[in-house]
């Protein structure tokens, strides 16, 4: 695959944005400024980034409880995201959803989802809709290794297969579902091998290598766009922080943590970019600086934004008749 400079820098910027966003959320949470349950995507940046890089206008994604990275990769506004996570009126969901329900349908981001396994059926629907509306749009369904044991995974893969829906199912296998290792909860080693049960392509790839993800996802996305149906792409990845903030992660060994962090996706791309002469250290530094500013701005925005009015409590439950 030919990767050009623009692609490298774009992938890098997205990954760094996610990393910095999450790192900042972690800090703000520790400072007690973020309420609720927060699940960070740090470590897994290559997956959302590599997959979403091949999406276009009208494409959609479904996400999980660990959704910040998907949002950013799909182009959601980080100011609105941070404000949402702070519970502010200027948040993407007016503060009503929070981290676990952050969404921007106008950007094709169909929502983080607090229900493990909640996404796959929605993804089938978005893909069916794209198909019935005559577009060549696709839907990406992100889900964790733990979600691969939910019934909705199975039903959705079968449905997408028999209807040849333009969905790419992306398993983010980070080795754990909460504190439970995938080797315990899953009867087989590679989730991608379940693709055979639905007669669709399946592939297991290194989810810490953004270029590998980019390449594999592009193939699956193109296939879906052409009307050839769904694929299952398993990205082996790793989360750097706890399942949620507050988790002490004793179920991880230091060896594992060090090994995976040594294989960091951002560092890898940085190195590859320079080695292959596609970008310079200065290019990357400029991005780092820009992103830092952006995240700083997002926190400031969230900070100065007001909380929702109490009148918001029972609005937005129903849409007022459209007809």
């Amino acid at each position: 695959m030919n990767i050009d400079r623009d692609t490298v820098l774009k992938l890098y910027e997205t990954m760094v944005t996610i990393r910095d966003f999450e790192t900042r959320v972690k800090d703000e949470f520790a400072r007690g400024r973020i309420p609720g349950f927060v699940h960070l995507y740090a470590g897994e940046e290559a997956v959302a980034t590599g997959v979403c890089a091949s999406l276009k206008e009208g494409d959609t994604i479904t996400s999980t409880h660990r959704g910040h990275g998907h949002c950013i990769a799909k182009g959601c506004d980080v100011d609105g995201m941070m404000a949402e996570i702070f519970g502010k009126a200027t948040g993407l969901c007016k503060g009503k959803g929070g981290s676990m329900h952050i969404a921007d349908v106008s950007k094709g981001m169909l929502g983080a989802n607090g229900i493990v396994g909640g996404g796959p059926p929605l993804a089938c629907g978005a893909a069916l809709s794209a198909k019935m509306r005559g577009s060549d749009n696709v839907c990406i369904c992100f889900f964790g290794d733990g979600a691969a044991e939910q019934g909705t995974f199975h039903e959705s893969l079968n449905l997408a297969a028999i209807w040849k829906l333009p969905v790419v199912f992306v398993a983010e296998n980070n080795g754990f579902a909460e504190s439970t290792p995938v080797s315990y909860h899953c009867a087989i080693e590679n989730i991608a091998d379940r693709a055979a049960g639905y007669g669709i392509p399946g592939a297991s790839i290194d989810g810490m290598d953004v270029l590998a993800v980019y390449e594999a996802a592009q193939e699956a996305i193109n296939r879906a766009r052409k009307g050839l149906g769904p694929s299952l792409l398993e990205c082996k990845t790793y989360r750097y922080h706890g399942h949620f903030e507050g988790d002490q992660q004793l179920y991880k060994t230091d060896e594992l943590q060090q090994k995976m962090m040594a294989h960091d996706a951002i560092k890898n791309l940085h190195e590859t970019g320079i080695q292959q002469g596609l970008a310079t250290a200065q290019d990357f530094d400029a991005i780092d600086a820009r992103v830092q500013q952006k995240i700083e701005g997002a926190v400031a925005f969230a900070d100065r934004s007001p909380y929702p009015e109490l009148s918001e409590l029972d609005t937005d439950v129903y849409i007022v008749a459209v007809s």
């Binding site: 969901c93 329900h101 229900i115 059926p121 629907g125 909705t152 079968n158 129903y318 849409i319």
Partner: protein, 343 residues
């Protein structure tokens, strides 16, 4: 309504079929999916008019007009296809998902409990989920515990869903049309024992507003509230009560959520007495809900205890003798009304 309309006599099932047909003609974004809603997908020998059209034939014939893209057979994967309806609704379509029997909500509850109903709110009003779930409720067919439930209290409990249950063909047509234009997820409950009941329906476009009950009989002594089958039982009971000199007013709810509290409270304000007849189970069901609303918001008009006519707190039994004893009936409503009227 004062407007003159051409009418025709059809069954409840035909009225539903017609509402879907007209709305699918009008709005290309509407489509139907469910198990065997067309029937016999991909079978070359099968003529489209021989296809099932749903387990009880309610959607028969639609596939001939709209084809198998828009009348879409599904695998037995309720979670996937009802969840898919949510995803499709969020992205520009107006799906009708058939959940064959409401008991099967057990197999796809998340799509209603946590997705369709909550997305709009969780997303700060920046999404809408215009979809309809059609589902069979009710007993009388000896279908037993897992097929004869009446579970709308569970649906009504969930904010973000609307819940509708017609008692006659005209309302079925009008409410289903309204549901398909509502813009929110609407659960459209079809009582299994009503499908073959006939009635007049207006020809052509016909909308019955969601959220408005109908006073189907005026009276001054006692208010009888029912919905779906029990709305009919209430009317029959009122005729019987008239013979005793009890002049009952009958309220057919038509919509369960949002509940037309105003119509109920106005009627009780007039009659001072209330009997609620409902086929759902009694604990946290519809009957006590309405009684509770009146005890809270209409207490001063109430002159007697509220009469509740519901099945017992038990699953639906199979044996005909037991099922008959289980279900609400005009006789039970008459007895309850007499009791609250002190006669």
């Amino acid at each position: 309504m004062a407007v003159q309309m051409k009418t025709k006599t059809v069954t409840f099932a035909e009225a539903i079929n017609e509402a879907i047909r007209l709305e699918m003609r009008r709005n290309p974004r509407v489509f139907l999916m469910g198990e065997d809603v067309a029937g016999g997908a991909t079978l070359e020998h099968l003529e489209e008019d021989e296809a099932w059209g749903g387990v009880l034939g309610v959607t028969k014939g639609l596939v001939q007009e709209f084809g198998r893209e828009r009348i879409r057979d599904t695998p037995i994967s309720e979670s996937a296809y009802i969840g898919a309806a949510v995803g499709a609704a969020a992205t520009g379509m107006v799906p009708i998902a058939e959940l064959m029997f409401c008991s099967f909500i057990g197999s796809c509850m998340d799509s209603l409990l946590n997705q369709s109903s909550k997305i709009r709110y969780m997303f700060g009003g920046k999404a809408s989920i215009p979809m309809v779930v059609r589902t069979i409720i009710g007993g009388g067919f000896r279908a037993a515990a897992q097929h004869a439930q009446t579970l709308y209290p569970i649906f009504a409990h969930i904010p973000g869903l609307k819940v509708v249950a017609a008692s006659n063909p005209a309302d079925a047509k009008g409410l289903l049309t309204a549901a398909l234009r509502d813009g929110n997820p609407v659960i459209f409950c079809e009582h299994i024992a009503l499908y073959q009941i006939k009635g007049e329906i207006p020809e052509g476009e016909y909308v019955v507003p969601i959220g408005k009950a109908a006073v189907t009989r005026e009276g001054k002594d006692v208010t009888l509230v029912g919905v779906s089958m029990t709305a009919r039982h209430a009317l029959a009971a009122a005729e019987e009560l008239a013979k005793d000199g009890i002049d009952a007013e009958v309220v057919d709810l038509r919509t369960i959520s949002p509940l037309d509290e105003t119509t109920i409270l106005n009627s009780v304000a007039k009659t001072g007495r209330l009997v609620v007849a409902d086929e759902s189970n009694p604990v946290c069901g519809l009957a006590t809900h309405i009684a509770g609303i009146v005890a809270s918001k209409g207490f001063s008009s109430l002159h007697a205890p509220v009469g509740l006519v519901t099945p017992p707190h038990s699953p639906v039994p199979f044996s005909p003798v037991l099922e008959d004893a289980y279900l609400p009936s005009p006789e039970k409503i008459v007895a309850a009304a007499r009791a609250v009227c002190g006669k």
